[in-house]
């Protein structure tokens, strides 16, 4: 039995094991995750009632099984699916959060793929971020042509993997497990490739569903799953990813500068810059630790804002639904 193998180089490497995150980081991300999952559970229970568990259960099993479907890339490696973006596009953000939580939970409990105590962070990275960014972007394509929708879905899938990789690196760094200047370019570099596989499979699956069961992905269905405010959520997280990624791995890294200031580090740590010399943006030549910390705090604040937005969405979703049925 081949489970989406943890050792394949093109499989998303985002399942953090226990021991790699500090207690504080673990706790903060549990709190964020619990907030999202309980909102999702409450809303879905209301919408689906006794149909909820059988439906979500089989969809979670679907995502789990879909992660086994690969396509050969080159040299024995193959592309795999994480599934967060696909789930959020075909099910809506709240259902996707619940489904991905079940998938990540089962992977941790059954296969020790991802830790137990750090599960909150893993759910946030692979289930919540992907659901928010994926649905937000796809929602913006409602009413557009099939081609545009597929392109946006592909971009959303790629960004969802990048967002997960970014937040995983930040968590590892905040926990003092990795130095940002190495883990960030490495994680983002690898996942920029993995994300292409995610984008291709996601768009391919959607194209198939649009052809076979267009009713499942009609504009009316999609607008009913979430209001326009989701576009804002998607845009904000996209912006955070696009701005934070280069900023946090920019040269010379703030972390390293602090290290140099204290005089306990020599030339050792700048090697990654020479391996990845292009990983800088000229406009932001001067970065400092404060910008990076601000960025990391920003990510958490964004997540907090999203929770507030969720309240607002509850209202706008119902009004949008009205529009869709008119």
């Amino acid at each position: 039995m081949v489970i989406a193998s943890a050792f394949s180089p093109l499989t998303p490497q985002l399942h953090i094991p226990d021991g790699f995150l500090s207690t504080a980081v673990t706790l903060v991300f549990w709190l964020i995750t619990i907030a999202f999952v309980s909102i999702a559970a409450r809303r879905l229970q209301h919408d689906f009632d006794e149909r909820l568990a059988p439906l979500m259960g089989i969809l979670a099993a679907f995502i789990f099984a879909a992660q086994m479907i690969n396509f050969p890339v080159a040299g024995g490696t193959s592309g795999h699916l994480l599934g967060g973006a696909l789930a959020t596009i075909i099910l809506g953000p709240w259902a996707a959060i619940l489904v991905m939580t079940a998938v990540i939970g089962a992977q941790a409990i059954l296969f020790q793929d991802g830790g137990l105590l750090v599960m909150g962070a893993n759910i946030f990275n692979m289930g919540i971020l992907t659901a928010l960014i994926g649905f937000g972007l796809y929602r913006s394509a409602a009413g557009r042509s099939r081609r545009t929708k597929l392109l946006v879905a592909g971009a959303a899938a790629w960004l969802s993997v990048m967002a997960g990789a970014l937040s995983t690196s930040l968590q590892l760094w905040l926990s003092g497990t990795s130095t940002l200047n190495i883990v960030m370019p490495a994680m983002l570099g690898v996942h920029a490739l993995i994300g292409v596989g995610e984008a291709l499979i996601t768009a391919g699956a959607l194209a198939f569903i649009m052809q076979t069961r267009p009713d499942l992905l009609s504009d009316a269905e999609v607008t009913q799953r979430g209001g326009r405010a989701w576009i804002v959520v998607g845009a904000v997280i996209t912006l955070a990813v696009i701005l934070l990624a280069p900023l946090a791995s920019a040269n010379p890294d703030g972390l390293e500068r602090v290290a140099e200031d204290y005089g306990f580090i020599n030339a050792g740590l700048d090697s990654p810059y020479q391996i990845l010399p292009d990983y800088t943006i000229p406009l932001l030549g001067e970065t400092s630790l404060s910008t990076i910390i601000a960025g990391a705090i920003g990510a958490v604040v964004v997540a907090g804002l999203v929770i507030l937005l969720a309240q607002f969405l509850r209202k706008s979703a119902s009004s949008d639904q009205q529009l869709a049925t008119d």
Partner: protein, 263 residues
């Protein structure tokens, strides 16, 4: 059907197997937490934690290296922590020249790296013990008793029931793809990369529609049999005296580990 492939349960009748699943879940989580709290380089604490793992393994009637071998799955992730060897301030141990670069591992960095790795290995070992001695349905039942959101627990239990079915479905899809992809030795089968990705995408789409329809049929069959949204179990899982005793013993050991690793 590959029902057994998804369950890591090792059938047995030891004191550990019989222990209430709630106690096992809580002790596992506290054990992982205890590992995170053991300071860097407190080797005594780590050795005691490993001893606890080995005693439980023995008690459960598993081979002594059962969890040790399986815990190696965390090693690839250790790559993410390698940089601390060179980043944590401390006494330089060596100076490694690779081309134009110099890497300087420090003693504190090395201690931190090994501590992270050991914590992670120990934690995953306890998690393996939990799944090896507790059937998954019992685990889910424990989560329900521990007040996890009901929709999540119910989703997990349905997911578990469907896993084998859908993975069989997936295996059939993969086998069908292999069967229609004739391949000469040493040559690629199929078209260009984009084409291959689209085939995989179609398979995922196909799997989704089949899952959705199967879910619908199962739901209707459940309704016909009187399903109202509640799941019942024949196992009451009442805490016995020995469950409380074991929980207390484990807590005392974990407290001792914390104290001894700070001496």
């Amino acid at each position: 059907m590959q029902t057994s492939a998804f369950d890591r349960y090792q059938a047995g009748d030891s004191a550990i197997h019989r222990l209430d699943p709630r106690v096992k879940v809580i002790i596992t989580v506290l054990f992982v937490l205890s590992n995170v709290l053991i300071p860097d380089g407190a080797w005594l604490g780590f050795v005691l934690a490993l001893t606890m793992i080995l005693i439980i393994t023995n008690w459960a009637g598993l081979a002594w290296d059962f969890v040790l071998k399986r815990s190696l799955i965390v090693l690839p992730f250790a790559l993410a922590a390698v940089t601390v060897i060179f980043a944590v301030p401390g006494v330089a141990l060596a100076s490694i020249h690779i081309g134009p670069w110099t890497l300087t591992p420090t003693d504190a960095g090395l201690i931190r790296f090994i501590s992270i790795l050991v914590r992670s290995l120990l934690s995953v070992q306890m998690a393996i013990l939990l799944t090896a001695t507790t059937p998954f349905p019992d685990l889910i039942h424990a989560l329900r008793h521990l007040r996890l959101p009901q929709p999540l627990v119910a989703t997990l239990s349905f997911m578990y029931r469907y896993l084998a079915v859908l993975s069989d479905e997936t295996t059939r899809l993969l086998r069908a793809r292999r069967a229609r992809s004739a391949q000469q030795p040493g040559m690629h089968s199929g078209g260009p990369l984009l084409w291959r990705a689209r085939v995989a995408g179609n398979m995922v789409g196909q799997l989704f529609l089949r899952s959705l329809e199967r879910g619908d049929r199962v739901y209707k069959a459940m309704l016909a049999r009187g399903y109202t949204g509640h799941l019942y179990t024949l196992n009451p899982h009442v805490m016995q005296r020995h469950d409380w005793l074991m929980a207390a013993l484990a807590l005392a050991v974990l407290a001792a580990i914390q104290i001894l690793s700070r001496l």
